[in-house]
Subunit: 428 residues, 2 copies
């Protein structure tokens, strides 16, 4: 049994030659670990082994001796090198038994696709005797749970889409129940651009304490140029969660203010597209050194076909002027020039808004202090706003920062917020 005073010791065992040999990067491990962290659980040991009976058996036995709960990922497929059920049964000293319920489910899965189930898929319905079946609503790999040694083992499919569904809906609730934690946990996320992790950490000092008795934990996930601020809330039920979350999220919104560009599953580009769609606006874009990466964020979204009018990409300012019909402007950059480019692009493409992001990259070889001057202008029907910024850190860093800064300025403009507000990443 799990001692309620101590944290539950959770292990992850990733199986498969493709992962072991590095043919595929093990994002299943990192995402599983993050999903557990998000609900207040944590992984203390990770093991990777190939499709090999001896290694799998050893890994199961070792984990069964030291962990409280083990998630095994992969090896539930129909082929001969999928060994998880077989090795699990052997380790437990039981037989594999046909699970009639899953067999019927699988046959239905194939019937709905007008196909006959291949005979080797039957293997996927063979579970160790006594195992608890775990539903996989989106695939033929049946999950299952069983005890081995002192640990509860959860066997999950390697296909990411199937794994995430099973983890969220089946495995995590079971882990939380076993951990003795309040069963209701909610994750609230804020996405921001322009403030570094330590800056946000300072700004948010003390927000966890706004709930008497606790239950809210603050965390971060930095993926430059964006930062994700996470609030993990534990409560007795959903009402309790809402009660605890309300004052904290209000305070986070107040302190981070205009820097919050999206919440939860929203994205910066999604927020921009939604804001444009709502007002039946259309967009033209002009970019230089970002080379199409700004347009790529918006133009490929579902629904963008009604909003995204045209993007112009060049590395040459004269080309930019010509492309948008802003003739006769000097090649030298200035606020007037970038504003003229945005205005001309808007008119030329018949769009309601235009965003121009023109970059003067420093000369010379790539290096840590190579920088770029970023000229941003947004043209609307009756006004043009402009922002100049400078980012250092090498070619890639400048490019990534410029893309995010350009899109975030547009987000701010569409939301009626100041387009010019100092960010941590710029040198002025």
């Amino acid at each position: 049994m799990i001692a309620h005073s101590a944290a539950m010791r959770i292990e992850i065992i990733c199986t498969g030659d493709e992962v072991l040999t590095g043919k595929i990067v093990n994002t299943n491990f990192s995402t599983m670990s993050q999903k557990l962290e998000d609900v207040g659980l944590s992984v203390y040991w990770g093991t990777t082994v190939g499709d090999d009976r001896e290694s799998l058996t050893r890994a199961f036995v070792l984990a069964s001796e030291r962990a409280d709960a083990v998630i095994v990922n992969g090896g539930l497929g129909p082929t001969v090198d999928d060994l998880s059920q077989e090795v699990a049964a052997q380790a437990a000293g039981v037989e594999l038994v046909l699970n009639e319920e899953w067999l019927v489910r699988m046959e239905g899965f194939f019937t709905r696709r007008s196909r006959i189930m291949p005979p080797n898929n039957r293997k996927q319905a063979m579970l160790p005797a006594g195992a608890e079946m775990i539903d996989n609503p989106v695939g033929t790999a049946c999950g299952f749970a069983m005890d081995l040694g002192r640990a509860r083992f959860f066997f999950t499919p390697g296909v990411p889409r199937e794994l995430w569904r099973m983890l969220d809906e089946q495995v995590i609730p079971r882990l939380l129940a076993r951990s003795g934690a309040p069963t209701v946990i909610q994750l609230k996320r804020f996405h921001s651009y322009g403030l570094g992790e330590s800056h946000v950490d300072t700004l948010l000092a003390g927000v966890e304490d706004l709930v008497p008795g606790g239950g809210v934990k603050l965390g971060f996930r930095a993926h430059y140029p964006q930062l994700e601020t996470k609030l993990t809330v534990r409560g007795a039920d959903l009402d309790d969660i809402r009660r605890k979350l309300a004052p904290v999220q209000a305070e986070v919104r107040k302190r981070l203010g205009n820097f919050i560009l999206a919440e939860d599953d929203q994205t910066l580009e999604g927020v921009i597209l939604a804001a444009l769609t709502e007002r039946q606006g259309t967009l033209a874009m002009v970019e230089t050194f970002t080379g199409g990466q700004m347009a790529a964020r918006i133009a490929s979204l579902p629904g963008a076909e009604h909003v995204f009018r045209r993007g112009v990409v060049s590395r040459d300012f004269a080309q930019v002027h010509e492309a948008v019909g802003a003739h006769g402007w000097p090649a030298e950059m200035s606020e007037a020039v970038v504003e003229a480019v945005a205005t001309a692009a808007r008119e030329n493409c018949g769009a309601t808004y235009a965003l121009a992001v023109l970059i003067e990259l420093d000369e010379g070889a790539d290096r840590m202090d190579l920088g770029g001057t970023i000229w941003i202008a947004i043209a609307a029907e009756d006004e043009v706003v402009c922002r100049r910024s400078r980012i250092l850190g090498g070619r890639e860093w400048v490019r990534l920062g410029a893309i995010e800064l350009g899109l975030d300025c547009l987000r701010r403009y569409l939301q009626g917020l100041p387009v010019v507000e100092r960010i941590d990443f710029e040198k002025t």
Copy 2:
């Protein structure tokens, strides 16, 4: 001692809370494992643990009992949570001893940067007594090797740039020497687009046997839409390698023919840029559903500022026509239309070549059999060539395929190869 008849058992232990909690994806593991595969070695067990004395000790002891060689990654930094040296010394039952040579190297490292070495960096020169120092020419984390149990342990830094250098120059040669393998190993790589892995595998059947006595191993790494074909060659010395490789690589080039788009460290976009630069050509691009991702591959490369004239991105064919000045063309797609767009783009941007990739995406929600019709035209001074293709597999799959197909057609055109040649991914 290692039995020469059996394969050397190599383990990797990755350390650090950021990896264990999934804050960072463990690409160090997959890249290390691939690098070892590339020289004919293989990893049979992977362990991930946090910055925690108990877990580190357990992981070292377990590996020392079952492996021949162990690579430990991370934990060599100057801060208190970098524990590798300390735990290694404890596991071996020896003291930590100051390595004067490394201390001097570190002080020099700081002096060259006009800085004083902070006192806590001294910790990085403390190695377990009797350990072999392993050079790190690009950082302050000193690598080292020592025996624990039956295994040789190699301690490496977590910073990827430092790790790759140490692995390639120091660790792999030591592993090869211990494995009893010929010390010279070379990897030859071919990149292709358009043929699936099993197709290429069939095409290349028997190429390994062209060298009497063997020494060449064929392998693949698929990263859709490209496929990497790898030849690992083992030999007594470089001459021996060259002698073995020559007939095999000639045969691979012959059998894969026009589908080889680049070799070794070359990339598709790099090959295109080089071909254009060589003939002092310039390029204009027009793209629709790929939304700027084609332009992004070329425009941001160093040197592209002299070649890449302009890219036009839109989701709307009328906009495309207008943007390139191809007025009066019907909105309905045809060979004539896409050729007119490419021709107009070329003239309008004053470029020597223009590539137009226009996509008609199927209607409706995203699904596995959602497809797109891809119209490609390349305009040069005296001709226009055209290709129509159809790819199925959902929005993302169509987009990725279209980007690669469009760029690969341009590569073929610039190399004087047929632009139309059937690929495995298209439905016609």
